[in-house]
């Protein structure tokens, strides 16, 4: 069907488009506009040029600290999650008893929402730290590693599923041929499994990167930024800037635009990476 009468085209697309324009498109354009103004509601904005963007950095160090914290967190999480997930995927593709049951167990935390996850780990981490007379709000380092552990618990099973799909897609003949040629387990892993699951590694790396960068619920419930705002990640810092004090809405919106550019950059990098690996294969 190359053509469709206009009234049918409208019937199929308008419900989605109206909701999209109302819930996303107008708020997006309005949000970009408001980042250049001073406002407390959407109707009382006054043009302020780029001052919000300057003040996002100059007013206090919160935004810069949050950026550093987020980048560090993202790097550590991406590395740990992918190593653990890949390791588990290797263990669970050896035709072991109860493989499906194990997959079910490892994946389950991924379904539990961020707020609930945060409070589960708050109990456990504080339960350990109490033996040393402190709790998670004592230092941002505890908050950092708490978030890393939490994120691993949530994401490892998910990434494992993607790696398992990648490993199972390797033709068994190739592995068998390598065995016949006398390749050791490590050689097979390095020269066959790794290169052939490269697309899955790309997907998982960027998926964990994007999720780590955008983390909000877990951050709010586990540390709420404590002590002070030291363990605030970018999303939480933007939220606190918006709703913490009156008169900072414009700065919050400017921070949100910068945050959006960070995320867009990650996605663009991912597209380039996956295009490149598609061309090579």
């Amino acid at each position: 069907m190359q053509k469709m009468p206009k009234r049918y085209y409208a019937f199929f697309t308008l419900p989605t488009l109206i909701a999209f324009v109302v819930a996303f498109f107008i708020p997006l354009l309005l949000g970009i506009y408001l980042s250049f103004t001073t406002f407390t509601t959407v109707t009382n904005s006054r043009w302020a040029g780029v001052s919000n963007y300057v003040r996002a950095f100059s007013e206090d160090n919160n935004f810069i600290n949050a950026t550093i914290f987020t980048v560090k967190f993202a790097i550590v999480s991406v590395i740990l999650i992918n190593i653990l997930a890949f390791g588990l995927a290797l263990l669970l593709t050896r035709k072991m008893r109860g493989e499906n049951g194990f997959r079910t167990v490892f994946f389950m935390p991924n379904l539990i929402g961020g707020i609930v996850l945060g409070y589960i780990w708050l109990l456990i981490i504080n339960g350990i730290l109490i033996n040393f007379g402190v709790d998670i709000t004592y230092s941002a380092t505890y908050g950092f590693w708490g978030l890393v552990v939490l994120m691993n618990w949530q994401m490892v099973g998910y990434m494992m599923i993607i790696y398992i799909a990648g490993i199972l897609a390797i033709p068994t003949e190739i592995i068998e041929a390598a065995k016949i040629d006398g390749a050791s387990g490590w050689q097979t892993l390095k020269n066959i499994t790794f290169p052939l699951v490269m697309p899955a590694i790309t997907i998982c790396t960027f998926l964990t990167l994007a999720n780590s960068f955008k983390l909000f619920d877990q951050n709010l419930s586990l540390t709420a930024g404590a002590p002070g705002r030291e363990s605030s990640m970018l999303a939480l810092d933007i939220f606190n800037t918006f709703y913490g004090r009156n008169g900072y809405e414009g700065i919050g919106q400017a921070k949100a635009v910068i945050f959006f550019l960070f995320v867009a950059l990650i996605v663009l990098l991912q597209l380039r990476f996956s295009r490149k690996s598609e061309l090579e294969s």
Binding site: T16, P27, G31, L34, V42, F106, G127, V263
Partner: protein, 276 residues
């Protein structure tokens, strides 16, 4: 012989990891039966005669947060939003994939672009917009979820529709079906497997979503994540017992959902990741 010893060691290692993975949930479950003052100090101790309080935490947690209405709102919002998203985005995806025009590709790229925009970018303006248009209630929020979720869902549906041969649809048109009949009688049944994927991805998102409902309907209608967060922030000295009970109550629906449709969930999530 040597091989089987190695396999057994691997098996025990994986089993140990699996138990480690489940232990946080078990610890919360165990603490939900302990008195509120025994939880923070000794979370790893089993309940004993002194600390066991039966279902007291559950009753106080349910009463304090209004858990039952929260469960109702969460179920209502999730079920109807997911249904609406699956219906309308599949219609849109089919239309703009089959009708090749400038408008179609403009709509497609606009929707796909929305996937990369983080929620913080629009949270303030969206909640104001919802307020002005009176979408700040459990029915109106369905419109917001449709609008914000359209990108990913249309993207996944379009990818699938491109792989379906057109001949079946063309035959239906020749037989006198109009586009609406063609879509609902012929195309929609074919979309079933991918519709399940879309439904699962959106269920996971909407059921667990905190910030969007908190900013738009949170003061009048608490969903489960809002109720949990409310318990933390709302009281001077927080009631750890009620919190543990509420965490267990929040996890139960997810576990039921997971165990009844885990095959679809794992497949759907893997498929969604590869495309998203």
């Amino acid at each position: 012989m040597k091989k089987s010893i190695r396999e057994n060691i691997v098996y025990i290692l994986v089993l140990f990891l699996a138990i480690l993975f489940l232990s946080p949930i078990f610890i919360v479950f165990m603490n939900s039966f302990k008195g509120r003052f025994f939880i923070s100090d000794t979370p790893f101790a089993l309940p004993n005669a002194q600390t066991f309080v039966g279902l007291e935490n559950y009753t106080s947690g349910i009463v304090k947060t209004g858990f039952l209405p929260a469960l109702g709102y969460s179920l209502f919002i999730t079920i109807f939003s997911v249904g609406t998203i699956v219906l309308f985005t599949s219609m849109t995806a089919w239309c703009i994939t089959r009708v090749k025009s400038r408008l179609s590709s403009f709509i497609y790229y606009l929707l796909v672009f929305s996937m990369i925009v983080p929620f913080q970018m629009v949270m303030f303006t969206m909640s104001k917009m919802a307020n002005i248009l009176h979408l700040d209630n459990p029915i109106g929020i369905i419109v917001l979820y449709l609008g914000f979720g359209a990108g990913l869902s249309v993207f996944i549906f379009s990818g699938f529709i491109k792989t379906i041969p057109r001949e079946i649809e063309e035959a239906a048109t020749i037989d006198g079906c109009n586009p609406i009949q063609t879509f609902f009688l012929i195309v929609f049944p074919i979309l079933r497997p991918i519709a399940i994927t879309v439904a699962i991805l959106n269920t996971m998102w909407i059921w667990n979503d905190y910030l969007l409902p908190y900013l738009t309907i949170g003061s009048n209608y608490k969903t489960i994540p809002i109720a949990v967060q409310y318990l933390q922030g709302g009281y001077g000295s927080k009631d750890m017992g009620a919190m543990m009970a509420l965490l267990v109550l929040a996890i139960i629906p997810i576990v039921i959902f997971y165990l009844t449709s885990q095959k679809h969930i794992i497949k759907g999530v893997a498929a969604g990741a590869v495309k998203g």
